[in-house]
Amino acid sequence: MTENTPNSFRTQPDDRGHFGEFGGRYVAETLMPLILDLEREYRAAQADPAFQAEFDDLLEHYVGRPSPLYFAERLTEALGGAQVWFKRDELNHTGAHKINNCIGQILLAKRMGKTRIIAETGAGQHGVATATVCARFGLPCVIYMGAEDVARQSPNVFRMKLLGAEVVPVTSGGATLKDAMNEGLRDWVANVHDTFYIIGTAAGPHPYPELVRNFQSVIGTEARAQMLARTGRLPDLLVACIGGGSNALGLFHPFLDDPDVKMLGVEAAGHGLDGDEHAASLLGGVPGVLHGNKTYLLQDEDGQITEGHSISAGLDYPGIGPEHAWLKETGRVEYTAVTDEEALEGFKLLCRTEGIIPALEPSHAIHAVAERAKQMSDDQIILMNLCGRGDKDIFTVAEKLGVEM
């Protein structure tokens, strides 16, 4: 850790939305008044016990929280080192952590009197979660999704449509998640009077990174209490995968001021960090400005954004939430990257040892857990966020394993 270690890691961002030099509000003037308004409404909601009560109630009875804290006994045995525990956010309604954030944001939208919801999606998990809460609250919903991803993730496209959402394939640029986010921002600029944009990860202009983190922090808050109740102690290491960084922050944030708890964020190394085919913004990118905030980005020497690659559509975003950029610079969180092949190994390992089919995103984290556990002793505890289930990914995995379905 560096000399300028702050007293607390939990007080970011500042009142202008900056996490150190990262974050901020880099948006076109048309959107500025809107995001200032969103921030005011969010502050009012935070101070309103009725808002929190409605959020908690929906998480309990609709999403199925608290999610279990699970000791993975057979996996631990197979690895022969530290005890491995999972926070089971893959058991949430819709199968991932994404819904926690969507519940929070749709309640904000309702509070602000907005009557139309838009969102971007990559893998389709955030799109499905958004379509779900829109159905639940009876609001029309438009989901922007890169045309490439529409083709790769057809089961989720069908789910969104069943839930009543309109799915708009985006063909501009590389036709993946970043282009879907551009299109979401364009829609929002043109429809600011009635539209709420539910951003799916802890990125975008302030206050999105903060509010997404806070809604997702239910993961870490529950896990911390559950761990203390079950073992009487805190874990030694937290591990989570990172696309934009929301599930990782959700787990990490409540532990940031526990100095003995180490943290590891796992980016997607795709075909390897030495080439261009990866999605590791922190390990393979440099700081810049995209989608409303300053953060690490995959880009060329002229500042043109390059396409990320990962086997998992939920991780191939060329940026990362600004709080992670800051946590990296301060040294509070360690970051590593795991390749497509290694993630597949992690995927298979969890299926066979625990009878849990994980999503490809947390499969990256599983591989990192396997490596670390072996270097640790059996009285140490690793807690990983199992942030999504693998139903959506079985076609991708079958193809990789050469199985025809």
């Binding site: 509000r25 003037e29 008044p33 600029v189 600011v192």
Partner: protein, 260 residues
């Protein structure tokens, strides 16, 4: 008087013409816009993620990047333009990331070496303008800001503070392209803005025809046209200059007639 001040001190309202750098034959396109009567050139720096632009300018960005246009190329185009047109102001317009990639000071110096008159950065609002704006002013380059229909009375002073050259009023809450704003709303907003600043106000977004340009010329100091030109480059490629000049002439004559 600098070049931008001179452009806005002519007896007629200023016509500001946009082209994306590296899309088609940029030198020939810019020459055609000047020949047609453009008072200010806005040269778009291509970016992979033009979030505030509609399909026309998005495609122009991708066409340009597809041909391998670099930041060095864009600056060279500006330098060459200055040699051919010593009097016509040139403004670079684009997004933050390519401008700050090597640092705001690097960019300000490079733009100054190219004798650029102003810079419009779409996604750096006044709240985040601690580096680029000061670096540009230091080099005598005008930071030109955007005001929009959503820029209310509370925000307007912050937008004006530190702006130079002219103020760009974005007439619709939306992206560049096809929508048109009602002239009543444009007139009301321009006069509201002019009560707070002595800077000239140019109006853009959604202006496509000589008739629209003429209407706006009656209520503003300048008119900005982008997508209509970019569409012509997309359609006619290397044969676009003649079309660009014809449309520019039609627009500038209509604007002058409307004001006389």
């Amino acid at each position: 008087m600098n070049r931008l001040q001179a452009a806005f001190s002519k007896p007629h309202p200023a016509f500001v013409a946009f082209a994306t750098a590296g899309d088609g034959d940029t030198a020939a396109n810019l020459d055609a816009l000047v020949a047609g009567g453009a008072d200010v050139i806005e040269l778009g720096m291509p970016f992979t993620d033009p979030m505030a632009d509609g399909p026309a300018i998005q495609s122009a960005n991708l066409r340009s990047l597809g041909k391998g246009t670099t930041t060095a190329d864009v600056l060279q185009m500006a330098t060459d333009f200055r040699k051919r047109h010593p009097e016509t102001p040139l403004v670079l317009m684009g997004y933050a990331n390519p401008m700050i990639r090597r640092g705001a000071e690097w960019f300000a110096l490079a733009a100054s070496n190219a004798d650029v008159d102003g810079v419009i950065c779409v996604d750096i609002p006044p709240e985040e303008d601690g580096e680029l704006g000061p670096a540009l002013r230091e080099k005598g380059i005008a930071p030109i800001r955007l005001a929009t229909p959503t820029t209310d009375a509370a925000r307007l002073p912050a937008v004006i503070e530190g702006s130079e050259g002219f103020l760009y009023y974005v007439s619709v809450a939306g992206i560049t392209g096809k929508q048109q704003a009602a002239i009543d709303s444009i007139e009301a907003n321009v006069s509201r803005i002019k009560q707070s600043t002595d800077l000239p106000v140019a109006v853009g977004f959604g202006v496509r025809t000589p008739e629209q340009a003429a209407e706006i010329a009656k209520v503003a100091d300048g008119v900005v046209v982008g997508s209509a030109f970019v569409d012509l480059v997309g359609e006619f490629g290397d044969a676009a200059p003649a079309k660009l000049q014809a449309l520019t002439s039609a627009m500038t004559s209509a604007m002058r007639a409307a004001r006389s």
